[in-house]
């Protein structure tokens, strides 16, 4: 309970960012939907096309919609120039605004279609202009229905905004994703309670406005609107009141090790006099592009990830050649700069419970192929799409009875509970030792190397004071130390926070 309350009260920043993002998205949704609804009420085709489009958008999972804006904005850079942000607030705003569009548009169009024909005839008959009819008759009569649509949109948007974390926008999703990673349920719960509470509160205020419109009670609707605006303004002041935009932005992908390393880097930079800001929970491709564009200044990546995902290479030239290849490729393509290796590898490995492996007589991937048709393989959400998987599968002829996808943390639970027999584990994961797992050997050398490397945006790489502060980290982290730090935050009992784990890892 104390942990939950502490987590809840630490959410100030995430809450204000969440309020601002949601408010901006809903506002953009309203500003798009209302003129569109007016147009649609005068034109059947517009009504059909716009409602069809809004419904189509609604069928795209929110997470995918958020992710889709990255390539869209990236291609729009051809028009708007390199300054166009592809991550963070802008794509989150656009995706959520699109999401908010449907309920507002649908209610507005329905309200207009259902206006009493006699009322419209009277308005025309008495000589109202288009604008007068809209302002004096249609808008006031449709207002309660439109408000109901805005209410629905607000609740959806506030919920979906938690997913903005994955594209580098701070939100109440930060504690949820961080907590899911580390099975820190107090953190997850705090994020959920805060976002649900915010949604309920917004629903209450907007419901008040809706009732005010319906019952024509000015005090209700005006009060509701003023309260909503005050809330947003307060968030705005808190967010931008004391902001420093010269802060070094440290990115982290969606797993514990990344959170810890981000803090490790952050602590170092703070000691060197830098202000730092964290962008946690970034998707893998997102983090790389964010560092290329300068939206993120520093983050930790893995050679194998860049090799396969960014360079689209499927061959495996060995650790050194791969490292050199990446350095050269990033330089040629204007990508982030590689400062150097941290010293450990976080490779994909096929892990099994020791007892199960012994029982089936499996020690290597070649052994595994023999028994695979009876087994279930669990992978993280991207694993089965990766060339490592297809490479190993084809090299060893792996044919499993079933392939299942789990969030990384749940993969280990699945292995423990028997829902999966083999998982795509990470070699630096603390749970390998803790859960008594074996990593199957790879006699053909198919799995590529995954050296953890420090990546800097081109701009940050040119900052000598910054690189000087980071250089001591190179080669300083052994895989054992990393495993221990990971385990300290992932274990069930006596968990450490990311900051504490980072301090432990730094040997403080």
């Amino acid at each position: 309970m104390d942990a939950f309350l502490a987590a809840l009260f630490a959410l100030g920043d995430a809450l204000t960012a969440h309020v601002l993002l949601s408010a901006a998205a809903i506002t953009a949704g309203i500003l798009t939907a209302l003129p569109l609804a007016v147009w649609a009420s005068r034109n059947e085709t517009v009504a059909r096309v716009s409602l069809g489009f809004a419904s189509l958008v609604q069928t795209i999972p929110a997470l995918a919609l958020l992710a889709l804006f990255f390539p869209v904005l990236l291609s729009l850079r051809a028009v708007f120039g390199e300054g166009l942000p592809t991550l963070g607030f802008l794509p989150a705003l656009l995706a959520l605004a699109l999401y908010a569009l449907l309920p507002i548009l649908r209610n507005a169009v329905t309200a207009q279609a259902n206006l009493d024909a006699g009322v419209i005839e009277a308005a025309d008959g008495m000589g109202m202009t288009f604008a007068q009819r809209l302002r004096l008759v249609e808008a006031p009569l449709a207002a309660p229905y439109i408000m109901a649509g805005i209410r629905t949109a607000a609740v959806w948007t506030i919920g979906a905004a938690t997913l903005a974390t994955t594209i580098g926008q701070k939100s109440l999703g930060d504690p949820i994703f961080a907590g899911l990673q580390t099975q820190n349920w107090a953190l997850v719960l705090a994020g959920c309670v805060a976002s649900a509470g915010l949604a309920l509160f917004a629903d209450l205020l907007l419901g008040m406005v809706e009732r005010g419109f319906r019952e024509r009670r000015k005090i209700l609707w005006l009060g509701g609107i003023v309260a909503a605006i005050l809330g947003i303004a307060a968030a705005f002041v808190v967010q931008f009141g004391g902001q420093r935009d010269d802060a070094v932005v440290i990115g982290a992908k969606t797993f514990s090790e990344q959170y810890i390393l981000a803090r490790l880097i952050g602590h170092r930079l703070e000691r060197a006099g830098f202000a730092v800001e964290y962008r946690d929970g970034l998707g893998s491709a997102v983090a790389h592009s964010a560092a290329a564009s300068g939206a993120v200044d520093v983050y930790v990546d893995y050679t194998g990830t860049i090799w396969a995902n960014q360079m689209k290479r499927t061959d495996n030239p060995g650790r050194e050649a791969m490292y050199e290849g990446i350095v050269q490729w990033e330089r040629e393509t204007g990508g982030p700069r590689m400062l150097g290796r941290l010293g450990f590898e976080n490779a994909y490995g096929f892990a099994m419970r020791q007892d199960r492996a012994r029982e089936l007589g499996v020690a290597s991937l070649a052994d595994l192929a023999r028994v695979a048709p009876r087994l279930t393989m669990g992978g993280d959400p991207e694993f089965f799409e990766r060339p490592e998987w297809t490479g190993v599968r084809d090299e060893y002829g792996l044919r499993f009875a079933d392939l299942r996808t789990f969030a990384p943390t749940f993969m280990y639970n699945a292995l423990r509970s028997g829902e999966a027999d083999v998982i795509s584990a990470y070699t630096s994961d603390g749970r390998i030792a803790a859960d008594n797992l074996v990593i199957l050997s790879d006699p053909e050398g198919t799995l590529p190397g995954y050296d953890a490397v420090l990546m800097l945006s081109p701009e940050a790489a040119g900052n000598e004071r910054l690189t000087a502060a980071l250089r001591p980290l190179l080669g300083s982290i052994s895989v054992e130390a990393m495993r221990a730090a990971n385990y300290a935050v992932d274990r069930e009992e006596d968990k450490l926070g990311f900051d504490a784990a980072a301090r432990q890892l730094a040997g403080e």
Partner: protein, 254 residues
């Protein structure tokens, strides 16, 4: 010799087609200022279509409509409509506005503010208690609503009143009383009135001149007295026969 005033409304070779349906065929006629004209016909005879070309709620396919001697297309649309009082069966009171606000809305559109006394005056004209001024339309009876509808049509001091089945949805007692009231107002305010109705008895009792429409054409143009004397042709006489037969049967019973 003094110049005659132009007719309040004149139709010239007016036609309206909806695809293959010829709703109004070659209508040419003039309505003198101060006349109370009823336009009678069965459903689908084209009478409402003809009426609505006057305030351009419907645009004719061919021909012209003149109001006050001027082509309706030469008026700015809103100016044309604001000088014509329009009353119709479904009334169309604005449900979000009070009775007083409904009545004052027309002048407000033109930028004028209706004095509070004027709303009371208009309520008096249609026999409504001043207390209804603050009520919402939903709180009124059907008859009261149409009285407000008439008051609203008169608020802008229109001299021309066009009415589309104005009393069609009212109970017979209210209908009779409101009909008489409108006729009184017509006389008192010196209006020109064109009223569409399917009820020949109502037309005969209220109008000075009755136009009968059938399949898009004006088939009779008579005074009530003339129609009752048998003029106007078979289509008109079929319509006149209905109230006449009812009157005979009532006399037999009584």
């Amino acid at each position: 010799m003094s110049e005659d005033p132009p007719p309040a409304i004149a139709f010239r070779a007016l036609n309206k087609r909806y695809g293959s349906v010829h709703a109004v065929r070659d209508v040419s006629l003039a309505i003198a200022q101060g006349a109370f004209v009823a336009l009678v016909g069965a459903s689908g005879s084209g009478k409402s279509t003809l009426l609505k070309t006057v305030n351009r709620l419907i645009e004719p396919s061919e021909g012209t409509v003149l109001v006050g001697g001027r082509d309706t297309r030469d008026y700015p649309l809103h100016a044309l409509r604001r000088r014509i009082g329009y009353v119709f069966q479904s009334i169309g009171l604005f449900p979000h506005l009070s009775v007083a606000e409904n009545i004052a809305l027309g002048p407000r559109l033109a930028g004028a503010r209706l004095a509070e006394g004027r709303v009371r005056e208009l309520l008096d004209l249609v026999d409504l208690d001043h207390a209804v001024a603050g009520r919402m339309p939903a709180a009124l009876s059907g008859g009261q609503r149409q009285r407000v509808g008439v008051a609203r049509a008169l608020a802008g001091e229109a001299r021309l009143l066009i009415m589309d089945e104005p009393f069609g949805a009212l109970d017979p007692v209210t209908r009779d009383a409101l009909g008489e009231r409108v006729r009184e107002l017509h006389d008192r305010l010196g209006l020109t009135t064109l009223m569409v109705t399917h009820d020949m008895a109502e037309a005969l009792l209220l109008a000075d001149r009755v136009l009968v429409m059938d399949a898009g054409r004006i088939v009779a143009d008579e005074t009530p007295r003339g129609l009752l004397a048998g003029a106007g042709g078979p289509a008109a006489q079929d319509l006149v026969e209905v109230p006449r037969r009812q009157a005979r049967r009532l006399a037999e019973i009584g």
